[in-house]
Symmetry: C2
């Protein structure tokens, strides 16, 4: 498949270990072009930059050209990459490998998943890959999974508007128990703010939170990962709650 | 309903006309507390601030206290408002009135809708209201609609995880043709980047785009607004594409 081109990006920034591993994993599937945020952009959701100019830098890693860094969000990287940096529309967008899970509520806040969503919106089959640990650098099986998923998507395509969100347990391959097709869980954060005072005696707040797993079913992303299985969730952005529409039609709105 | 409290926010910033009108519209439904970004935060999607401290300022408008301004995103405002600024969990979150439509693809990028989504995630019934024009200051009917919707939600509640996304045509009330329950359309942008050179001879890129309406069905948000009707879309964040899951189970993933 020498003519294939694959745009890769992330939200941990172009210098993160995960995107290095992702490039290595996909290199022999086609031409891999890195377009990633110059700095970490976690939890940016589907932010795009409208009010500021975007700039592009060519970045070397380990002494050779690695990719393009953009002073924007993951979604900006995909847009700018496709429109301005790649010679043709890529055959695949892969975002990751994120350091930390993107399951349940995290999908909504995730820059990693939103980059894949941006690919999907642009009509390009897209994949988000995350390693389910914020610290363990156990990327070897995640690389194999990323490569396998990318190959399969190139082979089979994906339905219009749908991306795959993949979470890989951060354990050695020998401890992996399988691969499951899952649904997005309901897990969220129990949050609070630290209220602090800065050296100039001004108050500031810092968000802090503890992740809660609120599911028990075996087909939920959080649970599958907890059982040392790879979670593969098909994600789309048809946000209409069709079930509720009928009831809503019975509401009477008065504006007098 | 003297004990009701309503948190209002937006993504156009605390000094925008829309949030002034929204406060006026809701003032007699309960205690209305404004917590909004200090500056415009359009297209931030569901971004939250994790790596920076948040600060709060008390803001006056027209000579009296208007609300709290936060140096963060709309989702930050809802989180910080509920956890730190309000005495109790509010009964309702209302985001808007946005200057510009939030229909179809815009829902994904919208800070206005993401603020309502944040309320929903926190278990609070939530509503996003947008005026379907980027320039016309025709807020009078949108105010009536915001008030009517807020009352109805207080009366009936909303299903867990579902918010209402309301778009109001920017025309006088006499030209409004009705209110419709709709679904999210497929309209998106035909985008490109302006490639420019700054005074220091460095290249920068600026996103530009033309909104395309890609639907024709009468029950789609974009179409309804085009016909001078108010569009009410129930939105949820269950992103799993359940239809595709069965097919995906037949894929064979190889990692060797």
């Amino acid at each position: 498949m020498p003519d294939l081109s694959i745009l890769i990006t992330n939200d941990d920034g172009i210098y993160a270990p995960g995107i290095w591993h992702l490039k290595e994993a996909l290199n022999d599937l086609g031409q891999v072009i890195v377009v990633a945020p110059v700095a970490e952009k976690s939890a940016v959701g589907h932010a795009i930059t409208l009010s500021d100019p975007l700039r592009v830098q060519e970045i070397d890693r380990q002494g050779r050209f690695f990719g393009y860094a953009v002073n924007g969000t993951p979604a900006d990287c995909v847009k700018l990459g496709v429109h301005c940096l790649l010679k043709k529309k890529p055959d695949l967008v892969v975002s990751g490998i994120n350091q930390g899970p993107n399951t349940a509520i995290n999908i909504i806040y995730s820059g990693t998943v939103s980059a894949a969503a941006e690919g999907t919106i642009m009509g390009i089959p897209s994949l988000a890959v995350s390693l389910a640990s914020f610290s363990k650098q156990e990327f070897s099986y995640a690389k194999k999974i990323a490569r396998s998923m990318a190959s399969k998507i190139i082979e089979n395509g994906l339905p219009s508007g749908t991306l795959l969100n993949v979470n890989v347990p951060a354990v050695p391959e020998s401890e992996i128990e399988g691969i499951e097709i899952t649904r997005q869980g309901k897990g969220r954060y129990e949050e609070s703010f630290d209220r602090r005072t800065d050296p100039n005696n001004r108050t500031y707040y810092w968000l802090t939170g503890k992740r809660m797993i609120l599911d028990t079913d075996d087909d939920v992303d959080d649970i599958v990962v907890m059982h040392n299985k790879v979670s593969v969730t098909p994600i789309h952005y048809d946000l209409t709650n069709h079930h509720f529409s009928e009831e809503l039609k019975t509401w009477r709105f008065r504006t007098e």
